[in-house]
Amino acid sequence: MIFARKYLLYLIIILLIAALETFIAAKIYPKIAFVKNDIWTILPSPGDPDRNIYTRAAVAAVGTFASKKPEQAYYQTEIDIEDQPLNGNCLYKLSGEDIDSRWWSITAYANDGFLIENTEKLYSYNSETVNFNANGGFEIYFLGNNDFITDVSSENWLRVNQDENFNISLRIYYPGEEFFSNLKRVNLPIVEKVKCIE
C-alpha cells in the first residue's frame, strides 16, 4: 500500500511538472513565434507541414484548419495604436489602403473567438463589400453603443459587445510577396480610438 502510494505521488509530480511546462510554453511561445507588425500579430506558417510542434499545438487550440503558405496571411489584433485593449465601451476607427491580394476581409470577434451577435447580421467587411473612400482607402468603425452612430463618418461599421473586449482578424488571401518577405513592416491598417462612453 505504501509502495503504491509512493508511485501515485511520483505520478502526480510528473503530471504537475508536465502541466507547469505546458503553462510556461503557452505563456512564452506566443512572444517568440508570433511576428508583430505594429498592432497586428501573425504566425508566419500556421498550416505548413514543416511547422514546429508548438506552432501546430497553438494553431489547433485556436483554429485547427489553418492554411499553408502562400494561400493566406492571417493577422489579429486585440489592441489599438495606443496599445490599449479594444473594448466595446469605446468607438474605434480602422483605416487603411486597399491590400495587395486576391481578396481580404476584416472581422470582429468576441473574446471567446466567436462572431458577435448583432441584429444587422453583419460580421465583416471584405474587399468587395467595403466602401472605399475617394482616395482609394477605407475606414471601418467598431462600436458597442448606439450613441456612437452619429460619430461614424463612413458606411462601414461593425457592432461589438458593449462592456466587453473584442479582437479583430485581418485575412488576406493570396497576399502580395511583401506579406512573406517583409512581415514586420508591410503596410497594414491602423486601429485608433475615437471616443469612449463618459
Partner: protein
C-alpha cells in the same frame, strides 16, 4: 552523500518524465482536436460531405469562423481504399484544402490551379499503392484519416445561389464504392 545523490537522481528522472509527458501532450493535442472535430461533425459520415451554411454568431463548430466563406468538409478515411473527391469549380475564389490527422495542411488546390470547370482528386493513404491517374489529381495523405475542406469566397454575395449550387456538385467517396 549517497542520499543526496539519490534525491538528485530522483528529481532528474521526474523532470525528464514530466517533460516527456509535456511533449507528448503538445504533439498529440492537434491530433486530439482533429479527432474531436471528426467526432462532433463527421463521426457518422466518414467519406461523406457536410456542407455548412453561412456562419453567424451561433456558429460554434470552429473557433474564429470566417463569415466571408462558404464551407464544405469531408472527413476522409483512406485506410482501405483511396478516396475520390469531385466538384465543379467556381470562377471566384474556391480552394480545396487537405488536412492530415495532426491538422497539417499538406495540400491545397484552388480555382487558379484548375483549367477545367470541374476537378477530380484521388486521395491516397500512406499505405495505398499509387496507381496512374489520367483523369484528375493524385494527392497523397500522410495519414489514413484526415479532412478535406472547401472554401468559397462569398464576396458581396451576388452569386450566392451559384455557391450553394456548387456545394451540391461536391462528392467524396471511397474508390471501392
Amino acid at each position: 552523500m549517497y542520499r543526496m545523490r539519490s534525491l538528485i537522481n530522483k528529481i532528474f528522472i521526474l523532470l525528464v518524465l514530466g517533460t516527456i509527458v509535456h511533449l507528448a501532450f503538445i504533439i498529440y493535442f492537434p491530433t486530439y482536436m482533429m479527432w474531436k472535430f471528426d467526432r462532433d461533425i463527421a463521426s457518422t459520415s466518414v467519406n461523406k460531405i457536410i456542407h455548412s451554411d453561412k456562419v453567424d454568431s451561433n456558429s460554434r463548430t470552429v473557433i474564429r469562423p470566417s463569415p466571408d466563406l462558404l464551407y464544405s468538409v469531408c472527413a476522409y478515411d483512406a485506410t482501405y481504399s483511396p478516396v475520390v473527391i469531385a466538384s465543379k469549380v467556381l470562377d471566384s475564389y474556391w480552394a480545396m484544402s487537405f488536412y492530415a490527422s495532426n491538422s497539417d495542411n499538406y495540400a491545397i488546390i484552388n480555382d487558379l490551379d484548375i483549367a477545367d470547370d470541374d476537378v477530380k482528386v484521388y486521395l491516397f493513404g500512406p499505405n495505398s499503392k499509387p496507381t496512374k491517374i489520367t483523369d484528375g489529381y493524385a494527392i497523397f495523405s500522410p495519414s489514413n484519416k484526415g479532412a478535406m475542406l472547401i472554401r468559397r469566397f462569398l464576396g458581396n454575395e451576388s452569386n450566392i445561389d451559384e455557391l450553394y449550387e456548387n456545394q451540391e456538385t461536391l462528392t467524396c467517396d471511397s474508390l471501392d464504392n
